[in-house]
Amino acid sequence: MSPLYIARSNEIAARQLGDEMIVMSNRDSTLFSLDSVGLVIWQAADGRTPLEDIVKEKVCAEFEITPEEALKDAESFVRELAGHGIMRVSDKPLE
């Protein structure tokens, strides 16, 4: 399976509130609250690091979860965010 690259969109408003991240989509004003796991993925979404590496190096290092399970959840999470235009997802590195 080819690696998945993720990057935060510029079409958002976002702010960390305690240990959560609030993100609003400019496209449809949908508001999201990312929990601590989501926050780790969000902060690591630099467009260059494959999601699989983010999951292994960041998520599994901080939370008790298997890499397979974490990757499955992470993919579903980033695709949902991408659906609202707040995360960009690609099989090639992103600018």
């Binding site: 408003a13 509130l17 959560e20 400019n26 999201f32």
Partner: protein, 371 residues
């Protein structure tokens, strides 16, 4: 189940975060609205660089919702520099404007920068009424054109319709105009005293029988039965509750850097030209005084049957003389909604009776100072 917004607010209160801030970028304006509470002269506005520094401090403090307002924001030639800075810091930005100066270029820029919404004041669908309120000939035509430019770019536009004596008959026309433009419509019958405390403009507001009619109009308030229902019994939640978001999750910053608990709460708490924002937010004696107030600390209102449902504004109460006192304009609204006099009105009634004036009408009582 609480909504995500309610959860965010609760979290912000617990963490002491100013979740929402209004920054007025200027008090200058091309309109001279009859009911405006501002002094439009420039007494030394912050530069764009100073404002951007304040915005960075707000982002660090956790502010998410940012309203840029005025005056008229586009009176500043560098407004888009300030907006660009705000969006680079990922605020959710709402702009309040009269839209008079919004053409294709300005609308395009607002869209490119990802503005969340633009609120435009429209007083009437009839130019002769709207322009008489703004005192700027041609203003309705230009503002409507501005809204069309914004709408055509896919920006969310909210038409704000302040109701007063001059335009009371025109709300349905404004609502229809907003619908035709594809904009949302909101109505507010509140006229605010001038920032310097001058209350003369309050006479422009609707009161008494007119206010009662507004509150019994389903087109304006939705479910009339629910809106005008008698107040539910006051409980501990009301007595321990916060009066509003001012100083808890919200504050206001003037073009001169003065920080206040809210737009209509002119209690000076500090100035960002002299102190860091967070120092004012966390440690200002005045900010903490406002923050300490609970329902049970209000000597008159804590005894009032309306406490749990009243729209009491502590800023209006402050402008009336005591931020722990009643806000008579809100007493008037509670009375107009329910027909039940507030504790403040009953106290005034007793005072007037003691002075030998037993016949003073309830609607007149709200404008008499409680001594």
């Amino acid at each position: 189940m609480p909504t995500l917004m309610e959860e965010m607010n609760q979290r912000a209160i617990a963490l002491g975060v100013p979740l929402g801030v209004q920054l007025d970028v200027t008090y200058r304006c091309n309109e001279r609205c009859v009911h405006c509470y501002l002094d439009h002269d420039d007494h030394g506005e912050m530069t764009a660089a100073e404002m951007c520094d304040v915005l960075r401090q707000l982002a660090d403090a956790g502010t998410f919702f940012l309203t840029l307002s005025g005056g008229e924001v586009l009176m500043r030639m560098d407004f888009f520099d300030i907006l660009e800075c705000a969006r680079s810091l990922l605020f959710c930005v709402k702009i309040k404007t009269n839209a008079f100066m919004i053409r294709e270029k300005q609308a395009d820029r607002m869209r490119e920068l990802g503005v969340d919404s633009v609120q435009v004041s429209i007083y009437s669908h009839r130019a002769e009424v709207h322009d008489a309120i703004t005192k700027l000939p041609g203003s309705l035509k230009r503002s409507v054109a501005g809204i069309r430019f914004l709408q055509s770019r896919g920006l969310k536009v909210i038409v704000a319709n302040v109701l007063m004596r001059q335009n009371l008959a025109d709300y349905a026309g404004v609502k229809a105009l907003a619908q035709e433009l594809g904009a949302q419509w909101t109505m507010d019958p509140t006229i605010t005293p001038m920032m310097d405390g001058d209350r003369s403009i309050l006479g422009l507001g609707i009161g008494g029988e007119e206010l009662k009619q507004v509150f019994r109009n389903g087109d304006l308030v939705g479910n009339v039965e629910e809106f005008c229902a008698p107040p539910r019994p006051v409980d501990d939640g009301d007595l321990d509750g916060l009066p509003c978001s001012a100083s808890h999750t919200f504050c206001y910053i003037s073009p001169y850097g003065d920080v206040f608990p809210c737009v209509q709460f002119p209690l000076p708490t500090g100035n960002v030209r002299k102190q860091k924002f967070l120092e004012i937010w966390r440690h200002s004696e005045q900010m903490n005084d406002v923050r300490s107030i609970r329902g049970r600390d209000l000597p008159v209102c804590s005894t009032c049957s309306h406490l749990g449902s009243c729209t009491r504004c502590p800023g209006l109460a402050y402008m009336e003389g005591n931020m722990r006192g009643p806000s008579s304009l809100d007493c008037e609204k509670s009375f107009a909604r329910t027909g039940i006099p507030s504790a403040n009105m009953l106290a005034k009634k007793r005072q007037q009776e003691a002075k030998g004036n037993p016949e003073v009408a309830w609607t007149q009582l709200v404008h008499i100072q409680l001594s």
